[in-house]
Assembly symmetry: C2
Homo-oligomer: 109 residues x 2
């Protein structure tokens, strides 16, 4: 299992809509995430910096392939169409990233 | 169980020292954290924004009291004496906070 941390901005004017959407994520989207071997997935918001932090535990052995499969799901694409305009990706993200990867520097079970 | 997310800055000149320290946290400090009913605790770093994000799962029923007990430990105080000067707390943190609390807006098991 690999723990992953990801970071992105959230537009101030979209905060309430983002919270509402994430309080009731579509069941098809949750299924697609679970099928991608992602477990214990949380998103935290820090205001007023308006930063989102995502934490999950990846239980597969080929994240690139699981992520690609997620991206082929119609439900997931619709979900991203809804959410992406609310987000403000970090200018410093790596090529191909939307959410920017973070580095795990500590862990205690 | 309650999932908690916390955020703080890290001074650019301290990044390497912070990583080294956290690759080998003192066993007494790990014990104090565990006794405070904190489990599955990770810290992630985002460069070049130099932001730290902490995620843990709190299994007790009185976090304020567990946190106060942690702060009474000599090992923990020495650890904080080492780490606090490396960190740059958010100016917007609440009174009494060092790491700033975040709000959980999504969870999937």
């Amino acid at each position: 299992m690999k723990r992953m941390g990801l970071c992105i901005g959230l537009k101030a004017e979209a905060i309430e809509e983002y919270k509402r959407a994430h309080a009731a994520v579509w069941p098809e989207v949750l299924e697609v995430i679970s099928r991608a071997n992602i477990r214990n997935y949380s998103i935290f918001l820090r205001e007023p910096e308006n930063l989102l932090f995502a934490y999950w535990e990846y239980h597969g052995d080929d994240f690139a392939s699981d992520a690609a499969r997620m991206g082929e799901s119609a439900a997931m694409r619709k979900w991203w169409e809804l959410c992406d305009p609310m987000q403000q990706p970090l200018a410093t993200r790596a090529q191909g990233e939307w959410w920017a990867a973070m580095e795990e520097v500590f862990h205690l079970d």
